[in-house]
């Protein structure tokens, strides 16, 4: 499928999806970073009065900074997934579908999404312990089952494999065309 032969309804579909993903990217970034900053710094009482935290517990600044740094990294990784998705949708909108760059982009999206979900799963195990670190009895480090993350991991796996096979198929198609 060349650039000029991508059907218009595919380009329109990609454009509509780009608008939705852009809106969610902005909303997610604003809300997620905002919540993290409020919880750690601008509204410190939120942590002090968290339902898991013993009343009257003071939370050290170093712990707040560390908590924000970890969540900030995970939020940034999630934003990277959205940006890679937008990059791919833009290529579809421009008709640049069956190219190696697009195939590599799909693989990259699978890898980024998989990485983000894995570190989210790891940090969710530490999250209650960090929040309750200054309690008389801190919450233990324990894996938390999050089906939403695992669903995303499944899709990341599909995208990664699909991008890989797509790249191989594009190479085979190119060889066949040259042969013909």
């Amino acid at each position: 499928m060349t650039q000029d032969h991508t059907p218009s309804h595919i380009r329109i579909g990609a454009t509509v999806l780009m608008v939705l993903v852009s809106a969610q990217t902005l909303n997610f970034g604003y809300c997620a970073y905002g919540r993290a900053i409020q919880f750690c710094f601008t509204e410190p009482a939120r942590w002090n009065t968290h339902w898991r935290v013993d009343p009257g517990t003071m939370i050290e600044t170093g712990t707040r900074i560390g908590y924000f740094a970890i969540w900030g990294f995970i939020i940034s990784a999630s934003m990277a997934c959205f940006l890679v998705g937008l990059f791919l949708l833009n290529r579809v909108r421009r008709g640049l579908v069956f190219t190696e760059t697009t195939a590599n982009g799909i693989r990259a999206l699978g890898l980024t999404l998989g990485f983000t979900m894995l570190i989210d799963q790891v940090f969710q195990a530490f999250d209650p312990w960090l929040i309750t670190r200054f309690n008389a009895e801190p919450h233990p480090v324990r894996w938390v089952y999050d089906p939403s993350d695992i669903k995303s991991l499944v899709m990341a796996a599909i995208l990664f494999l699909f991008g890989w096979v797509m790249r191989e198929s594009i190479a085979v198609e190119r060889e066949n065309r040259e042969f013909v």
């Binding site: 969610q24 939403s148 599909i158 494999l161 890989w164 191989e168």
Partner: protein, 178 residues
Amino acid sequence: MPNSKLIWTGRALMLGLAGFALYYPYRLYLYYSHMAFSGDAAWQGIWMVDDTALIPFSWRLFYVSLYLPTVLATFVMIVAAMWLTMLLMQGRFFEAATVRALFVAGLSACLAGTLSSLAIPFDAWLLTAWNTDLPRRPIQLIFDSGEIGNALTGMGMMLMAYVLKTAADKHRENAEIV
């Protein structure tokens, strides 16, 4: 024919998917049977619910049924993902079966994300509806960004399936010409 690295990666993914296909219904059975059939104590253990709240059985069943569509859609997604992985391992890229598998995986992921996002605003309201001491929470306009991300990724996969269908038709025409 796909290279051996791809095949081994596919096998590893199939193993992970099969594991999740078994673990997911098991966890669901544990949680939802506990919430529906273990009496009031299951609900009273939740931090936002009164220790003395009495929850009618019909209400507990209603709460569980709210998430059933999401559960079904997720299970279809896992099965479609396994089917697609199997096809890709065989190198069957420009085929109708691959298009179908990709579309079903995307559609079910989109449905699972959307239905879960629609159920979440009702969750706290349903759990606290029978409180007498602790506050009853209203229906809130809150969203799980993870589920919205899943819904959007599912839409992207459906779009990819449609693109692949168009390409597969052209591939078949070219093959016939050759």
